[in-house]
């Protein structure tokens, strides 16, 4: 079924009787050409592009819970391509371009909204670093602007300009950055994949991998063995757990990142803002909630919940930046499990097991990467060679000393 304004009106006038299931709930078949483990944003996008762009068939997505229940369903919805390093920026710019055409591509309104993102500048050294970054972005075909203090003030006059511990001196802006309705991304990809014959199998947890003579033959699941020629793992947050089934240790730690939303408010913040000196970032959803976050809690965790010190720390950053939000109320906090990699950048690569491919290590940059991650992983699965923009995301970059370390923190995942 194709969605359109016309369809919405027609259905409204006929009692909404014509809407059909957005995806089927098929029983798993005995074997597939491709199994994607993980029905989150990246897994669903991979299946979608594998079917649509790479013409592949006999594809299944296995999801232990419900579709879109991973980090695509629990992030702060920001898209941007304001990266610095050669290994990252072309990939994220590719992703941003895919976002820009996504809704027309999969015929689902994911509310891709390019209201702009600013990274505030507080020191001269930060301005130097953002100048370097902004130039790298433009060299890679992205957009970037350096704003001075007065330009920032004109945008958000109620920021703390006059009594700040860390004065605002300007900002790096990417106008094409913005937000997307996160759940709708999962649903749009799921619907698009399902329409192209992909079997989306929910409540199907992978419990083991059948590997013989170094080659994958399929996966054991809570719904029985399912064979496959090619298996792609896209389970960020649980990567180490799933890949341990293939006997692999990863350059990844799992950490909890909390996110926050306030009660609904009339429009207050138009775009996205990051406050590096305060470890705080914020945007406002179309529903009116301020959506914000800060640092990860900082210790290995699979608990999907965090602790009070980080909640306080994030609120402190918010109040330091925006003294007018003192009487806005925090409505809800939640936690997601991040695949924190050793250099803060992801991995999309083959594994030592033939036919087994890995996609993970997204840290907290995974949501904005969803379209390109799906596309590049599909490319790797279908052609057994990396997509040009994802070439750097190899396992052996650590062995070869080719880390992609945007923050310069080294092998300390909780600092990326």
């Amino acid at each position: 079924m194709r969605y359109s304004a016309f369809r919405v009106i027609a259905e409204a006038l006929t009692g909404h009787r014509g809407w059909t299931p957005v995806w089927r709930d098929p029983e798993p078949q005995a074997d597939y050409d491709y199994i994607i483990i993980g029905g989150g944003g990246h897994g669903l996008a991979t299946a979608y592009y594998l079917a649509k762009e790479f013409g592949q068939k006999r594809i299944a997505v296995l999801e232990k819970g419900y579709l879109g229940g991973g980090n695509v369903g629990r992030n702060t919805t920001i898209i941007r391509s304001n990266y610095l390093l050669d290994g990252n920026e072309p990939f994220y710019e590719f992703s941003l371009k895919l976002w820009e055409g996504l809704e027309q591509d999969f015929n689902y309104n994911a509310m891709v909204s390019q209201r702009g993102i600013i990274n505030l500048i507080h020191t001269d050294a930060q301005r130097d670093a953002f100048t370097r970054r902004g130039n790298a972005m433009i060299l890679n075909g992205a957009d970037a602007e350096l704003l001075d203090r007065e330009q920032v003030r004109a945008m958000y006059p109620w920021l703390n300009f006059d009594n700040a511990r860390f004065p605002i001196k300007g900002a790096l802006m990417q106008r094409r950055g913005g937000t997307v309705r996160h759940d709708a991304v999962a649903w749009g990809y799921a619907r698009g994949a399902d329409m192209r014959g992909v079997d989306l199998i929910q409540n199907c947890e992978v419990t083991g991998m059948r590997i013989e003579r170094g080659r994958i033959l399929g996966v054991e699941t809570t719904r029985g063995f399912i064979g496959a020629r090619t298996v792609g793992v896209a389970v960020a947050g649980s990567s180490s757990k799933v890949m341990a089934q293939a006997g692999l240790r990863l350059p990844i730690e799992s950490h909890v990142l909390q996110a926050f939303v306030s009660e609904g408010l009339k429009p207050f913040i138009d775009g996205v803002m990051t406050f590096g000196a305060g470890h705080f970032y914020v945007s406002q959803s179309d529903k009116g909630g301020l959506v914000f976050g800060g640092d990860i809690d900082g210790y290995n965790s699979y608990a999907q919940r965090g602790n009070l010190p980080v909640i306080e720390d994030v609120a402190e950053g918010g109040m330091a930046l925006m003294p007018a939000i003192g009487r806005a109320r925090l409505l809800r906090t939640w936690g997601g499990i991040m695949d924190m990699s050793m250099d803060g950048s992801p991995i999309i690569d083959r594994t030592p097991v033939e036919g087994l491919y890995f996609n993970g290590g997204w840290c907290y940059g995974g949501f904005k990467a969803t379209p390109a991650s799906g596309w590049c992983f599909a490319h790797l699965l279908a052609r057994d060679e990396p997509h040009p923009t994802a070439r750097a995301y190899r396992f052996d970059r650590f062995l070869k000393g080719l880390m992609i370390d945007e923050k310069g923190q080294g092998a300390t995942p909780n600092l990326h």
Partner: protein, 982 residues
């Protein structure tokens, strides 16, 4: 405004009158009132508008679960959006206004959405607004954003202050209803340290809203007596107006105390609210239960509320919410509202009881097997239409309707560790699951024990269990007599058959139809249901409606409710003001401010300061007549190079390292060698991370055979010390080496320039001639007899020293240096001049030590000794880091002397297009060199060591500048180092 709806009784103080206003109209109430009870007493039922359809709404509840009666409380900078009228305590002068309505609450233009509701079914926006693509940001979304949201934030700074506090206890009791009071009494009498916290301003929970008797006295009196006894117990702390917001790890709970919200403004010195972090050994959740409605057509009109809330308004606040009242219930508790209101003389027109069988209430029209199928009254209920067991429909005039669909135990906090609540068929509700936060148990209604006796009994039982866990044996005491009525409930989630809308989540306007549509489109998992329809995502977080929604979904899918499952609750229990969570960490107090020893002196000179981490450092010190910062900085640089300059370098990290293995230890942590350093000398040290990237640099001096003092960069002082402790304790625990951070212990000044020695000779007690104290000498000295340290090191390229005295003498020393320096026209320079001189000398600093660069990148590759094991030595040799084409530190000069450079510009070859393939690297640091009379810069350039002397471009695409530059050695000034040995 109509006549007063006050009836007899209640817990309000009628001897005192409070004046307040709502939407500009004046009203009166009494102490003990909430804004909602006082408005209802004044005959005002319409208090808000819903989120999506802008439906007129009155209070659904009498508590913190309220989804409808949200108002903007107070005015000016204290205006507080989305405040629940049902829990806002009345105070004299309270001003409230309605929100999310224009032009007025009664005439809201956006109510057009209600007329068009068929077009706004769940998820409609995912299916449209896609064409043309550019219209989303320009047309559709701005329209949606303007319409969305609830209340409005003023853009003014919150004028109130907030506090944080820490409490410790044996037992935290959450909720002061019958279960919580009994638990607190049991534990408090046994001598345990107890905290009893309750969100209400009056403890007692439902006892304040019921006519039950406990031990032969009214329940509210029993509660008051219990509170009075608890107040006398020395180990019990009573915290009313305190909401426990979340259960965190290891028995830590967060709680918000509303210290001053019941007052016009906080008294002087008092915060508005306090965030408490409560450390408990055990906790009991006695947070009661929340009633839920039944969905039927037009069940959202002002005047329709939860039956228990209707009863609470009558019993506690002496308000009859309507003159003709009806009750719709599927359980025994709904009947209590009818009997209580009837007893108070309110006209109860009918009790519509979904249960088919059972005795009838005496003296009240009690219809068994009946249901409410529709209602009327746009801005307030006027009539209800009912269908009796025999199918006959009837319309009854009514201005209030109490609805009871059963009670949901407030399991929220028990699921904060993601434990799933479990279904209890007896009460048709979820109760706390087993795997809740360790140490937390539930009692009373929160545990599904819905009778008063059950609450008292389980409160005592759980407290005894907690005491046993705490090692305090105690025995059960006889419980006071209390009602123990069965729940007697029949499943009734919604009234089927109608064509109109029946609300489940009133604030977000989620109706039964939306759930059906979600089912039709296969959004059948509870998480999909929530996310697709927005069920449970309003400011009440689904406290009243969630169970309804999933029960309806269960019915549609043919699964049981336990099979369907439930979403879980996350902190906070009720929304918390951002100001409270931030406390006093805002404005200038956001982070601590560290001041250098010369700060007071510099302030007297009118210095300009700059934030360097938490430090404030002198950036430059303008002199009269200087109008541009460059004038000051140029002067400071030139004066230093001409004669002598003084700079406070206290912020550099200082670590004393002692022990027989101190030298060997330094050899491990530095890439270069220190064990061979002679006593009395210092050496530049390069420290790598284990991954071979440069971590930090600085000079380390050997003051004795087994005694070194290390300096680190300002930025890494803390991280380096932590790392050294890791090496010492974890990697090489057998080494005899001790560390202490002395960053704050010593005030340290750089004295640089041709006259540096002559100036210092007037200060120090020792001979510091070049022979006695040559380049790179270091040692303990005295200044006027006081112990001090002197290092002959230079960051500026000049003859230079760093002199350190105990921090408390730092102020005296800067004044002495300045005084003695007059002879030499000495200048005190700040971080800008420091930066100019270090770039002129080609020294790396923060912009080059970016955590991404190797020693090789910095031109220091030879410093990494391969003859010994050191942190980072092995991995610095990985192929990708040894690439001859990799970045190398270079100097950059504009070809035209007046050419401008910008740090962050990228290198491009002449004629090359501005695309990434042609990127050569970037300018890391740029200064204006008054010595050379032009901008100069350092940069990382690919294979830069082989490109010295070439011409390239430094391009800043952000500013549109493109400057031809010459690649030069990074040592712009005195490359032979003759001056610093002078």
């Amino acid at each position: 405004m109509s006549r007063s709806h006050r009836i007899a009784g209640g817990q309000i103080d009628r001897t005192s009158t409070i004046r307040f206003s709502f939407d500009g109209l004046p009203y009166t109430g009494h102490p003990g009132d909430t804004l909602a009870s006082a408005l209802l007493a004044n005959g005002v039922r319409l208090m808000g508008r819903s989120f999506k359809y802008h439906r007129p709404r009155g209070p659904l509840s009498a508590g913190s679960e309220e989804p409808n009666a949200l108002v903007q409380l107070r005015t000016g900078a204290r205006q507080e959006p989305n405040s629940r009228a049902t829990v806002a305590e009345l105070f004299d002068g309270l001003t409230a206004t309605s929100q999310n309505a224009w032009p007025s609450l009664r005439l809201d233009a956006m109510a057009l959405n209600d007329r068009l509701s068929t077009f706004f079914a769940a998820g409609f926006y995912y299916k449209t607004f896609m064409w043309p693509a550019a219209f989303w940001e320009k047309v559709y979304e701005p329209m949606i954003r303007r319409a969305a949201g609830l209340g409005r934030l003023t853009r003014e700074e919150d004028p109130d202050s907030y506090d944080k506090g820490f409490l410790h206890c044996d037992l935290l009791v959450i909720g002061a209803g019958p279960a919580g009071l009994m638990a607190a009494l049991t534990a408090g009498r046994a001598g345990a340290r107890v905290i009893l916290a309750d969100e209400d301003f009056r403890m007692g929970g439902r006892l304040n809203s019921e006519r039950f008797e406990i031990g032969g006295q009214p329940g509210a009196d029993w509660a008051a007596g219990a509170v009075a006894e608890l107040a006398q117990l020395p180990t019990v702390r009573l915290m009313s107006r305190t909401t426990v917001i979340g259960a965190f790890d290891h028995g830590i709970y967060g709680a918000v105390e509303r210290v001053s919200d019941h007052l016009p403004e906080p008294p002087p010195g008092k915060p508005r609210q306090t965030l408490w972090r409560i450390y408990s050994r055990r906790a009991i959740l006695a947070g009661g239960a929340t009633e839920r409605p039944i969905a039927f057509e037009n069940n959202d009109r002002p005047g329709i509320m939860l039956a228990g809330s209707l009863r609470a308004y009558a019993n506690r606040w002496a308000v009859a919410a309507g003159d003709r009242v009806a009750i719709f219930t599927n359980n025994e508790d709904g009947l209590r509202t009818a009997t209580d209101l009837h007893a108070k003389g309110v006209d109860v027109v009918a009790v519509i009881d979904a249960r088919a069988d059972g005795p009838l209430l005496p003296g009240i029209r009690h219809l068994r097997g009946a249901e409410v199928i529709d209602t009327r009254g746009r801005l307030g209920l006027t009539s209800i239409t009912i269908r009796q067991a025999n199918g006959r429909t009837e319309t009854l005039r009514a201005s209030a309707l109490g609805v009871s669909g059963g009670w949901n135990p407030n399991v929220n906090i028990s699921s904060h560790h993601r434990a799933r609540p479990v279904w209890d068929e007896a009460i048709l509700s979820f109760v706390p699951g087993k795997a809740g936060p360790p140490g937390l148990s539930a009692a009373g209604a929160a545990a599904g024990r819905l009778s008063t006796h059950g609450a008292l009994a389980s409160g005592q039982t759980e407290a005894l269990a907690a005491l046993a866990d705490l090692g305090r044996a105690s025995r059960a005491q006889p419980l006071p007599e209390a009602e123990d009525a069965p729940v007697s409930i029949t499943p009734k989630w919604y009234v089927a058959g109608g064509k109109g809308r029946a609300w489940i989540d009133p604030q977000n306007d989620v109706t039964v139809k939306d759930v059906k549509l979600a089912h039709q489109e296969n959004f059948t998992s509870v998480e999909h249901l929530k996310r697709y329809t927005t069920l449970g995502m309003a400011t009440d977080q689904g406290k009243t409606g969630n169970v309804l929604g999933l029960a309806i979904m269960a019915g549609l899918t043919g699964r049981t409710i336990p099979e369907t499952g439930t979403t879980i609750y996350r902190p906070p229990y009720t929304p918390v003001a951002m100001g409270t969570l931030a406390g006093r960490s805002r404005g200038k107090e956001f982070k601590p401010t560290r001041l250098t020893p010369s700060h007071a002196w510099a302030e007297e000179q009118g210095a300009v300061f700059v934030e360097v981490g938490q430090w404030l450092r002198t950036q430059w010190i303008p002199r009269p007549g200087e109008t541009h910062w460059r004038e000051s900085v140029d002067r400071e640089v030139l004066a230093t190079r001409r004669s002598v300059g003084i700079c406070d370098v206290t912020t550099l990290g200082k670590i004393d390292i002692q022990g027989t293995d101190a030298g060997a230890f330094l050899d491990r942590v530095y890439a270069n060698t220190f064990s061979t350093l002679p006593v009395g000398k210092c050496r530049y040290g390069l420290m790598l991370r284990e991954d071979g990237i440069v971590f930090d640099d600085g000079t380390t001096a050997r003051l004795g055979e087994h005694e070194y003092v290390m300096t680190t960069t300002t930025a890494n002082a803390v991280a380096v010390f932590r790392h050294l402790e890791f090496c010492r304790q974890v990697l090489w625990p057998g080494m005899d080496v001790q560390l202490i951070s002395t960053t704050e212990a010593w005030a340290q000044f750089s004295v640089a320039g041709p006259n540096a020695r002559r100036l210092l000779e007037r200060i120090v007690d020792q001979d510091i001639s070049d022979a006695a104290f040559p380049y790179l000498a270091a040692g303990n000295i005295t200044v006027g007899g006081l112990r001090a340290r002197l290092f002959r090191i230079s960051f500026s390229g000049e003859l230079a020293y760093e002199i350190a005295v105990p921090a408390r003498y730092g102020d005296a020393l800067i004044r002495r240096l300045v005084e003695e320096g007059r002879t030499f026209d000495a200048v005190v320079y700040g971080t800008e001049a420091l930066g100019v001189m270090r770039v002129e000398k080609g020294h790396v600093a923060g912009n080059e030590l970016n955590g991404q660069s190797t020693a090789l990148n910095m031109g220091l590759g030879k410093m990494v000794s391969r003859k010994k094991d050191s942190i980072g030595m092995v991995l610095s040799g990985r192929e990708g880091m040894m690439d001859p084409g990799g970045y190398r530190l270079v100097g950059v000069k504009p070809v035209a002397p007046d050419g401008k450079l910008t740090a962050g510009s990228h290198f491009l070859d002449i004629g090359a297009a501005a695309v990434m393939e042609n990127d050569g690297g970037w300018l890391t640091s740029k200064v204006y060199s008054p010595h050379l009379g032009s901008d100069i810069a350092l940069g990382y350039l690919k294979a830069g060591d082989r490109r010295i002397g070439e011409r390239m471009r430094a391009v800043n695409l952000l500013a549109g500048t493109d400057t031809e530059v010459e690649i030069v050695s990074p040592h712009f000034f005195d490359p032979e180092g003759e001056r610093l040995r002078g």
